[in-house]
Amino acid sequence: MHAFEYVAPLSVDDAVTLLQESGGAAQVLSGGTDLIPQMKEGRRRPPLVVDVKHIPELNELVYDPVEGLWLGAAVPCHRIVGNGAIARAYPGLVEAISIIGGIQIQGRATVGGNLCNASPAADSIPALIVHRAVCHITGPDGARTVPVEDFCTGPGQTVLAPGELLVRIHVPAPSPNQGGAYQRFIPRNEMDIAVVGAGAALVLDEGGQVIQSARIALGAVAPRPLFVEEAGAFLAGKPVSEEVLEEAARLAREAARPITDMRGTAAQRKHLSQVLTRRVLLQAVQRARGEEAGRRNGHA
């Protein structure tokens, strides 16, 4: 690794100041499970590393059935996954978070870091998108919010301007009759980057037969996590049926524009986009109806 300076500020303001003074050259360190390998490989060479794990706001994890979920950007995955109330309120989000790496990665990796690393294949991002998450950012010019689907702008790139810090993520409280799910396809059963990831969240009517609203998002099929608005819009007002869900899945496949790389071929990814979308929609329906599929979380 190159030589760098390390600092651990205790407040958001101090962190923002450090980031701003570096002119964008400093790098934020939360879990380190992406940054440290990148530095070892020489892909990132920041002169200054700003450890944000000592900042109280970034460590907050608060869930309230009315207020929703406030997720500090430096909260490690295992704290989220281990929180029963959050897991019950947002199973489709928590299952995405729970499969970021193996158990050791879960001990360090953060959702904030997963988001800011902005890999097109990140597991948490499609799930955050479909759950309507909003990013709360503080910078030299004050605070602002960005819907999570707009946060990533390209592989490894976000809307954060020099000096800006992602402080926390807000997820609205779940509606009644809401269900969400995330599945990814990987060649092994764990430890792999998603070949394709699919997240879905929908709200059914009281009877559980009609879809009131739906959101679908895909990972690893575009330069950034893909919010497939048209597929979700198609589902609004439709009755739950195999044909309807399949059509939404087909629309998701249409929207996907994957590449061929060493983790998957474009044809495979297009195909999986449809397969996984259908599967998460089915699961989201079951969860919205209060039934639960008897299958491993997160895996296709």
């Binding site: 030589a3 760098f4 360190l29 158990i103 990665i105 360090r108």
Partner: protein, 170 residues
């Protein structure tokens, strides 16, 4: 020359202070500065678990922790996990089940399995395998490792896996 930082951490039950560069990982400092070579480097990027330690009681890959991040924290390595006067039940079961061949991944597995059993004292085979997915072994195919962990759980729960019958088959 890059400047060094002084770090104080609670390591294996003792207050330890060391000098390191920010770019040195916890794994590197443990092995090269503190003489604790029980944690191994197998991959350097969090994919094999051979470097596993407990950080504030949480299982982590020490190759992905900067040593400076352990300031004020608690670190337990394989050396600290091993009791002074006897082996842990998991260590004993690894030996009895021949759950190691070359042994280089074994410290990581012991730390990882111990963390599992503390969190989930009666895991199913599937839960054991999922937990251990981040610990790579190339020698054993995991069969005897999983048996050793399940046997440890059973033993700790008070049931003995040994019965007095004669050996069967084999």
């Amino acid at each position: 020359m890059p400047s060094k930082v002084m770090v104080s951490t609670h390591l294996n039950g003792q207050e330890v202070t060391f000098l390191c560069e920010p770019r040195q990982t916890l794994l590197e400092v443990l092995r090269e500065e503190l003489g604790l070579t029980g944690s191994k480097e197998g991959c350097g990027n969090g994919n094999c678990g051979a470097c596993n330690v407990l950080l504030d009681g949480v299982l982590v890959n020490s190759c992905l922790v900067l040593a400076v991040e352990t300031e004020g924290r608690t670190v337990t390595t394989i050396e600290g996990l091993t009791p002074p006067d006897q082996l842990l039940p998991i260590q004993q079961k690894f030996l009895e089940h021949a759950a190691l061949q070359c042994g280089v991944c074994t410290p990581g597995f012991i730390v990882s399995a111990q963390a599992l059993l503390e969190q989930n004292p009666q895991p199913t085979e599937g839960e054991v395998r999922r937990w251990l997915a981040g610990n790579l072994c190339r020698c054993t195919g995991y069969d005897k490792i999983v048996r050793a962990v399940l046997d440890t759980a059973q033993t700790l729960a008070g049931n003995s896996a040994q019965d007095s019958d004669q050996e069967v088959g084999g």
